[in-house]
Every structure is written in C-alpha cells, then in structure tokens.
Symmetry: C2
Subunit: 313 residues, 2 copies
C-alpha cells in the first residue's frame, strides 16, 4: 500500500499528535521517502537519566509498542521502580515505566560514552525495527523554559507534567536556539527534502524549538519547496493538550488562522480541518482535510490527503 | 534481647558475608552501640547509574528486604527493565532488579545534586527504617582493579560479575587508597569505637580497600583497642565466593592463619571457626566460634560470642 511517490517528505513533530501523523506517513511511504525531525526542547535529566519524551513517543509509536490509551509510554509497562522510589519518600512526579527506564538507561549510557543524541536515536530506532530515519532536531541542548504567572520560570517538564500545564503561561524561552548547531543528519535531511510537513503538534511547545534554531530556520528557508503545517486547532479546540489554553494566555484566539499567522513566512501552505470550512481560505496553498486522526485509518487518510495535495503543488 | 554492653562496636564489612554478621549484631546491640563501615571498592557506574553493591547488600539485609536465597538484591524483585535492555540487544551482565534500580536512581540523583555518598547512605538507611549508622568507607572513589592472567586489568565488577571471578588473579590495585580522605562519619566512628570487628568478608576484595586507605589505617592504628577479624576460611574453604580460589592464585594456602597473617599488625585478635580447632592457637587473642552463620540464630550467636569475648579483652 506504499504510495507511488517521488517526494521526499521531511516531517517535523513533537510528541503524541506528531507521532500519529508520523505513523500514518510511515504506513504509506517507503522508508527512504520519509524522515522525521523530533523536538528535543522537552528533554531533561531526571534521577540521573537523560529523558527525551518526544523522541521516545515517536519511536514507541512507529515501532508499535506505544501504550495506545495515552499515546505515550510503552504498552503494558509496569512501574515497579517508580513505586519503589515513592516508597523511599520521593516525589517522583514524572512517570517512569520499567520498560521505559531501559530506554533511558541505554541512552544515558551511550551519551556518557560520547555518542551524540542522533546516534542514540538511530540505534534505538534500529533496535526497535524502525527502518526510516528518526532524528532529534539537534545534538545540542535547546531546553524550553516556561515563564508562568504562578511559579515564575519553570523547566518544561515541571510545567508540563509536574504542574500538568495548569499554570498561566507568560512567556517562553528556547534556550540555546540561536547557537545550536544542525546535526549532520538534520542538515542532510533539510537538503534532501522535496517537501516539509509540520505535524499538528503544539506550535509553541513542540515546533517552535526547532524553528527558533537559527541554523535550522536558515537551512529551511534557503530552499524553494513546499513547507506546510497541519492545524493543531479544530473548531477552536486543541485535539489534545494545552495548545488552545496557551494561545489564550498569549493573547491569541485559538484558531487555525492564528497558528498559520504564527508560522508566518516559515510556511507557504496550511492544512485546515474540514470542520473549519467556514474559516478556510480558498486558494492553492490552503487545504482542508480531516485532521483529527481518531484511529489508524484516519492517520493514514490524512497522510494520503497531504501527500496528494503536495504532489500537485 | 539487646545485650547489656558498654562497648561501641565498629564493624567493617563487604557484601553478603559481612551483612550476615551485621544482621546478627543489629539484633543484639542497641543502635547507638553499633556502626558499620562498608567497602566501596566494588562501586561503579553502569548505564549512567551509580551502583554500590556492598552498601546496598548491607542496607537491604539490615532492613529485612534482602532476597534471602542469594543474600543480595531486593526480595521478589522483577527484572522488567533489565529484560527490556536485553531486548535492545544489550549485554546487560549486571543484574538490575526494578526495585533495586530505584535505589540506584535515588543515589545517582542525589550525587548529581552534590550530596556525598555518606549522606546518600544515611538517607537510604533512614528511608529503610534502619536506625544505626551505615557508612561508606570514604566519599572519595577507591575502585578495586583486578589484574588477571586471561584479560589483563579488569574493573572489579567485570571480574566479579561479568566473568564470575573465573579469571586467574595476578594482582590487585586499590586505586586512590593512598589519597582518599576519611569522611567525617568514618573519622568520628574510628574515634568513637571501643572495638573494631572485621567481618568474615573477603580480606582482599572487601576489607583491603579500606585498610589500604592511608588515612583509615592511620586512624585505626592510632588508638589502643581490640581489632579483631573473623575468619572467612573454614576447613580450607570459603563459605561463599572466591576467597579460597583467590588465595591460591596469590600463592597462599587457604587457611585461617594465612588470613590472620595477611591482616598482620592491623589486627590484634582473630576468630577461628570451631571446625578448625586443630589449627587454632590457644592464647587470649585467639577465639574459636561457629562462624558459618547458616541461619539467623547462628548470626546472632556468633555476634554474641564475639561481643562476650571482647567484653573480657
């Protein structure tokens, strides 16, 4: 059922929402036609482990081991270590499944031996049987910091997991984005791509970290090619997570158009949801598909819709 | 059933064998009369985790959570993370139980925050409900290195676990022992003790790392007090582990007397096993007890025998 295409698709993703479209694209594209760049702004050190939530979500999803009920973590994982930590009186607020810990242990081990995060991601992907390239946006740290009304500046996972994105967002900082270097894999992928697709991930939390990287943005804009984003907002709501809440806190109306405006000149095409037909401009660079990806069929259908649209660019 | 004693017992231990005597002593001494110094020569970093096998064995034993069938690890622990590591193609040769991993995570986290290993050990002991002081021999690293005929120099755990102490030992190095500093806890304990007892742990692998520390040896010899060792060799055999094999490889006959000679002037008393009555000298500084500690009663009895003997020093 692989699509007969000559396009080289570079997909930019965050976590759960991005992984859904990645799964849809993986189902129809041959592995040599799809590369995936993953946000690392969420990455952090926790109990001595290097944790990359978005990379893991994408790898677990593409390899079929994700816990489907939540869209992240390993299916049927136990939490024996986590419970033992809590029995030691620890406020262990980040969920560490036992199988998941193995991923963190392997990654931490390799980083300490001098591997790059790109090398670790490629190794993990291979060990999970994933044949397409999945790469972190950079091997340099670009941590997202969140300024909140209630707690001041928070590390991303404190904001997102510990406080469950309930604090009111005041501003965001993508620390190190100006100086972070492109990895060889990302540089090659940006030169290789015939089209760039931004998944319906949170633009501010999942996609902005890469687009704020000076080196990434410059390489992206250096080439003439379709650069399209899929709306994460449908009928004024986020499908999942804090996108709509965050937009309101930033003084924006939660609408597809506000997302399109936020991406600005970094994109030259935009996918609305069918349900927002009334707000969708009718021009060649706007499309409207079912973006909700409620099941695997819907993921594949959205991927096919996007690829067909790009084929007629 | 606490012994009516005015003695302050400082017990020097390695792993499994030492922990047995520690448990016997804990059963009869009030917690303020017993402090335990634990070998850290076995400590190592593994998959980004700081692992202290002997400290953990002692803490698990004293808190009643040890897996009794083997004498180390947490009882009824699962190995979900370890199996997941192996599924990633890892040669995960060091057993990491899931509950055990929680101990390593907590320790690694605290060390990264600047705690000393002594502080971590005290915190873990308190969290496990242990009321006596259990301390690492130093907060500085003193890793034991093992030169083998077959593989050259090995890190201790490679020799001991990966190769199951099968390689032929050529020599040992206690790296950093000359310069390692006494922790405040160990310095205080050496000043506080009215008697020092060396558990029937492996003299070369478990006890020598501390005795080779210049600062430790000097503080130990600075005071006039009983310093007695319990034989780890009974009828030419080690009760457990490589002591007898190692002695032969070092050109020594596996006998209690050879162990006594090895400790030399660092001890001034020695406990033989009853079964070795024919080799035991009959003087005030030699004793013979049942040292085998086959069950909890035997552990308590040996502790009582030693304490009674020391009371008449």
């Amino acid at each position: 059922m692989a699509l007969n295409t000559e396009q080289n698709i570079l997909l930019l993703v965050g976590g759960v929402g991005g992984a859904k479209l990645a799964l849809g694209m993986q189902a129809i594209l041959p592995p040599e036609r799809l590369r995936i760049v993953v946000n690392t702004g969420d990455d952090f050190w926790h109990y001595g482990l290097k944790i990359c939530p978005d990379l893991d979500t994408v790898l677990y999803t593409l390899s079929g081991r994700v816990e489907r009920s939540q869209g992240w973590g390993v299916a049927n994982d136990s939490t024996t270590a986590l419970e033992a930590l809590r029995a030691y009186g620890e406020d262990a607020w980040f969920r560490l499944g036992d199988k998941d810990i193995a991923t963190h242990l392997l990654r931490t081990d390799r980083l300490r031996r001098g591997w790059t995060l790109s090398q670790v991601a490629a190794h993990l992907a291979a060990q999970m049987g994933i044949s397409l390239q999945v790469m972190p946006m950079s091997d340099d740290d670009v941590p997202t910091l969140v300024e909140t009304v209630e707690h001041g500046w928070l590390e991303f996972q404190e904001y997102f997991v510990r406080y469950r994105w309930q604090p009111t967002l005041r501003s965001l900082r993508y620390q190190g984005a100006e100086t972070a270097r492109l990895s060889q894999a990302v540089a090659e992928a940006l030169a290789w791509a015939s089209a760039v697709v931004i998944a319906p991930s949170n633009p501010w939390l999942s996609i902005a970290p890469m687009l704020h990287m000076t080196a990434f943005r410059q390489a992206l804009l250096a080439r003439e090619l379709p650069r399209v984003a899929v709306t994460p907002i449908v009928q004024g709501q986020a499908i999942k997570g804090p996108t709509a809440k965050l937009m309101r806190e930033l003084g924006l109306e939660p609408s597809p158009q506000a997302v399109r405006d936020y991406y600005g000149a970094l994109i030259n095409g935009f996918v609305y949801d069918l349900r927002d037909a009334q707000v969708q401009p009718h021009d060649k660079r706007s499309a409207a598909f079912d973006t909700m990806m409620v099941d695997n069929n819907a993921k594949v259908r959205l991927a096919q819709d996007i690829l067909s649209w790009l084929a007629e660019w």
